[in-house]
């Protein structure tokens, strides 16, 4: 009986470090600033905090806040004729603070370091028992990347997998209204003055900022809903993809739907439809990043295989892509989508439109 009350971990395996994320709806919302303010408060309360990596962009109010904090020198990595600075993961691990500040979770490291992605560095720190406070912008969250691209026309290159957000102990949203941010920019607090007007007319257009803010607010609200189960019973989602260009969009849509429904998401494809191994691997990796499972179904009849899989797992929601628009001729027989709908009277079927480019 006594044995059960043993401390949680053996001395060799320290407790996993806690992760706190400051999530910004838009760049310039003040995430880094909020993180540094929190760091000072922690230092006042006698916590051992170091700066692993903080990007100040020379914003005066941010630079000011760096003063008084212990900063681990960055590692300098030669790359294509220049030298880039990165977080010195090994040095932070050696220093072993209680809490490390690591800015910009979605950052991609220079080739040659231990990991490709900064969020992987963060995982190493946590595994070593170091608590991490980090920042990320909503546009870099994998499951909403396509939404952000669609509404703003911005191409998002770096993303953080949703499981990293789901695995965080705390997410704090840093909100700012579009007009307040634009005002802050005009005061030169975010970009150098000569760049401001161009930025305001492009990336920082009010509708872009409003859309990203909106996506961020809902992302956090949905993840809270998931954690305290407002829904009577969670409902699961099955996404059927056929390895064409719209598959990525479908997988993200399925993951978002599952998040809102509080259930899990399973991505399936039918072997006969997916000859390309590399493509298959890419979709499998994307599903994994979104916390979804992935399966290749046997058989050659797509509709029958999808219907069977959905029935076997009692799936409440099936997500399929809209098929290529049909000719007069094919209107005389049911499409794959028609057959899936007919085969699953007990499930909701979502026929997702092709993206209008």
């Amino acid at each position: 009986m006594q044995a059960k009350a043993q401390p949680e971990a053996s001395p060799l395996e320290p407790d996993r470090g806690r992760l706190k994320i400051f999530l910004g709806g838009t760049p310039g919302a003040g995430k880094t600033y909020a993180m540094l303010r929190e760091a000072h408060e922690l230092v006042v309360h006698a916590h051992d905090v170091v700066v692993g990596y903080v990007e100040t962009y020379n914003r005066p109010r941010t630079v000011e806040l760096l003063a008084g904090l212990e900063v681990i020198p960055r590692v300098r990595v030669p790359y294509r004729g220049t030298v880039l600075e990165e977080m010195d993961l090994e040095a932070v691990l050696r220093r072993k603070p209680e809490i490390a500040l690591v800015d910009e979770l979605a950052h991609t490291n220079v080739p040659g370091l231990r990991h490709e992605k900064r969020w992987e560095d963060v995982e190493d720190l946590r595994a070593a028992g170091i608590g991490v406070i980090t920042t990320v912008n909503v546009q870099h969250v994998e499951s909403v990347k396509d939404l952000v691209e669609k509404v703003t026309g911005i191409v998002v290159r770096e993303t953080v997998p949703d499981k990293e957000l789901d695995g965080a102990d705390e997410i704090q949203f840093i909100d700012i209204t579009p007009e307040a941010l634009r005002k802050r920019m005009r005061h030169g607090n975010i970009y150098a003055r000569e760049k401001v007007e161009t930025a305001l007319a492009n990336f920082f257009r009010p509708q872009n900022l409003a859309a990203m803010r909106q996506i961020g607010l809902r992302l956090v609200a949905d993840s809270m809903a998931r954690s305290h189960h407002v829904l009577a019973s969670p409902e699961d989602v099955l996404v059927a993809v056929s390895c064409d260009s719209s598959s990525e969009d479908l997988i993200r849509r399925g993951a978002r739907l599952a998040r809102r429904l509080g259930g899990s998401c399973m991505v399936v494809t039918v072997r006969a439809e997916s000859p390309n191994e590399a493509e298959l691997e890419r979709l499998r990796a994307l599903a994994a990043q979104l916390g979804s499972s992935f399966a290749v179904l046997g058989g050659s009849d797509v509709a029958a295989a999808v219907v069977q899989a959905a029935r076997d797992s009692s799936i409440e929601h099936v997500v399929v892509g809209e098929m290529v628009r049909s000719t007069q001729f094919s209107r005389l027989r049911p499409s794959v989508v028609d057959r899936i709908i007919d085969g699953l009277p007990g499930s909701d079927v979502h026929v997702i439109a092709k993206l209008v480019q």
Binding site: L147, M224, H228, V230, E316, P334, R339, I341, D342, D348
Partner: protein
């Protein structure tokens, strides 16, 4: 040209009403407001604090700020004296807790219009549970009497910028213990009521959704201004198409709750393809009443083909998703409404609801 017009409109519009929304006491809305006031003052703006309640040392919380009617002294709380503010005529005024009453006993928010009209920008704070619909929603969950005066939900529409002051519930509890925002006795009671973790979680989520809804109106405005015509999933608009049939109440209810979890608006559309019997008209009347009760719009369309009329409506209204019930026939036949809608709609999702199990 458009950019120039936009910028000139922004510079012209100096007066504005900004509110910091907190989901619980102690999240830091007052601090955020006063920080912003100090920032503006440091840039040379004429700022005063008019109504507030601060915890701890008032001289510290209000440092560098002028308090209307109190000169440079800093009492720990002050009611709104709107006549004094109007006489002082500052560029920016801070009003803590919009739902609290002024010296004449009226909610402070009622004075905001006068201040704005006088050309004064208003920075203010608001507690989530001071909003009428939220106070009602949480009345039982948090227990105890309402916080005080409530403000109507429609009053939120007058706010130009509604900003969320977020903090995680764990950090909030920590802060409340450290900073003594509440007396130990108050804290002990509150911990059994509105400061229970699950209540805080729920209130925090509601605050996010309230802000998102407010921001949505703004976003739709921006979209119109810039001539966006493609449907946007961020602003979900769901259309349920129903046949002339009895017993569709649950289909309407399911659509309403699905729209709710998606933060989407919804409408129910019925297409009249032929003359309807009195009984059929009665069903439709009842569906319309139910739809309105659930917060949706009910639309009657006329047309020879139900699918075509529905598709036209969906495209016109920039809907993002169409919901249909399962077809009544057990087997597919050419020209089936569901397949026709899927075939004809481009850029819009089609969602087929499951057949309800008997007795559900």
């Amino acid at each position: 040209m458009r950019i120039l017009r936009q910028i000139s409109a922004e510079t012209r519009r100096r007066v504005l009403f900004r509110v910091y929304l907190g989901y619980a006491r102690g999240v830091g809305a007052t601090t955020a407001m006063l920080d912003e006031a100090r920032r503006r003052r440091s840039r040379g703006t004429d700022v005063v604090a008019a109504a507030y309640r601060v915890h701890g040392e008032p001289g510290q919380a209000l440092r560098d700020l002028e308090v209307v009617g109190a000169g440079l002294s800093h009492p720990d709380h002050r009611s709104l004296d709107v006549e004094a503010v109007l006489a002082r005529n500052p560029e920016v005024v801070c009003i803590d807790d919009l739902a609290d009453v002024d010296m004449a006993g009226r909610p402070r928010i009622e004075s905001v219009a006068r201040l704005l009209a006088a050309g004064t920008t208003v920075l203010a704070t608001l507690h989530l549970l001071s909003v009428k619909s939220m106070a009602t929603a949480y009345a039982t969950m948090r227990g105890g009497a309402p916080l005080g005066a409530l403000i109507d939900d429609t009053a939120l529409e007058a706010i130009d910028e509604l900003e969320l002051i977020d903090i995680t519930p764990a950090d909030l509890l920590q802060r409340l213990r450290e900073q003594r925002v509440l007396s130990p006795a108050e804290l002990a009671v509150a911990l059994q009521r509105e400061l229970r973790l699950n209540v805080l979680d729920a209130m925090r989520e509601s605050a996010f959704r309230l802000i998102a809804e407010h921001a949505d109106r703004q976003l739709v405005g921006y979209m119109r201004e810039s001539g966006v015509t493609v449907p946007w999933e961020v602003v979900g608009r769901i259309v349920l198409g129903i046949p002339v049939q009895r017993g569709l109440e649950n289909r309407i209810r399911r659509t309403a709750s699905y729209a709710q979890i998606q933060d989407a608006k919804f409408s129910v559309v019925s297409v009249r393809t032929r003359r309807q019997s009195d009984e059929e008209k009665e069903w439709m009347g009842a569906y319309a009443a139910l739809t309105h009760q659930l917060g949706g719009d009910f639309v009657h369309l006329h047309g020879r083909s139900a699918a075509r009329a529905l598709v036209d409506y969906v495209h016109e209204t920039l809907a993002t998703e169409v919901i249909l019930g399962h077809r009544r026939r057990s087997r597919w036949i050419p020209g089936d409404t569901t397949s026709e809608v899927i075939r004809r709609l481009s850029g819009v999702d089609v969602h087929i609801l499951r057949t309800e199990s008997p007795g559900a």
